[in-house]
Amino acid sequence: MIHITINGKVVQAKDGEMLLTVIRREQIDVPTLCHHEAVEPSGACRLCMVEITKPEWDGWCDYVTSCLYPAADGLIVNTHAPKVNELRSSILDMYLARHPKSPEIRQLAAEYGVLKTQFEEIVDGNNCILCGICTRICDTMGFHAISMVGRGHGKEVAPPLNMAPDACVGCLSCAKNCPTNYIEYNVSNGNLSIWKKDFKMAACKECGKTTITKEFAEYLSKNRDINIDYFENVTNVTEKN
């Protein structure tokens, strides 16, 4: 166990644990857009930046992404230093210029005092903020169906060759964890479509209720050694709500 100071309060942390984990455990609100516990931190959105210093640094401080910075003994962290707040609003300003229509971005920007961007708005843009949560989750789950394509300002998330991806099983994890709800999908009448690919849902033999796609069920059954019958069997309990 080591000790670090966050916003004036001394707290315990495990050596090497990421700062963000400690900060969140202390119930301090630090915004993030590219962070998800299921995947490795990437440090892309830069919103979780905090000011750090140490007594022996002679007043010098550094600005680091807390999601990737390992806690070290004696570290003094300020999660809302003036410079940090300015950085966050500046970054949110950039986001707002690129995605002026995204309600999620507008709300977060407003929290940091940015109601309208000072930059040139991109009118025909989309709401993908390129956080990479979707592609990283897809990789972690082992499908590797979608990835980042291109680079720089023109980067986008897409399936390979922009065609319906073979590897996708329609688990919807990419769409459900998208911070700006950008990824479109459609579920109706036992059919599901995402990334221009159509799926049939696995239905309960008795009640006909559907939960996941047939492809996903088959994948799990095959790779995870689960009886396929399990997926075609829904008892009354799931009928809630």
Partner: protein
């Protein structure tokens, strides 16, 4: 477009079958076909056991790869700093006007593809235009038309 994909096997055989070889293989494919055909990407993914999405990421990330077929001759205008201040923009303007295409495009007859590249490392001869494999240094406006004279 139909391609002879037998050559792919020769390319694959040159390298160990790991992700480390991915970029080298793609470079060889690019050299062979002047671009990366879809089928080649799919085969690469299979042979190296690297997900197709990763292969696609890599082939769109790096400048030297192209997913669309290129013309017989690729005309590269160097826009390195030295070339820029010695008038690369003007050469680009002239070439675009002359070939009636924008940078990055290919002429309809598939003869020329016009590209701007970051730096070809021949800064002392700025401005530089590379036609095919041939480097042309200190290019003047008056020479532009000669450079892309159709054969």
């Amino acid at each position: 477009m139909k391609h002879d994909f037998n050559k792919l096997t020769d390319i694959f055989d040159k390298y160990p079958k790991t992700q480390e070889s991915l970029i080298a293989i793609l470079q060889d494919i690019q050299k062979e076909y002047q671009y990366l055909p879809c089928e080649a990407l799919e085969q690469t993914s299979d042979v190296l056991d690297v997900p197709l999405s990763k292969v696609f990421s890599v082939s769109t990330f790096y400048n030297s790869f192209s997913l669309t077929a290129k013309g017989e001759k690729v005309v590269k205008i160097c826009t390195g700093t030295a070339c820029h201040i010695r008038g690369a923009k003007l050469l680009q303007d002239q070439l675009e006007n002359h070939l009636a295409i924008k940078a990055g495009e290919t002429t309809e007859d598939m003869k020329f593809t016009l590209e701007v590249v970051a730096c070809v490392g021949a800064c002392a001869m700025a401005p530089v235009v590379v036609v095919g494999d041939k480097y042309h240094g200190s290019v003047k406006v008056s020479r532009v038309k000669k450079l892309v004279k159709a054969k």
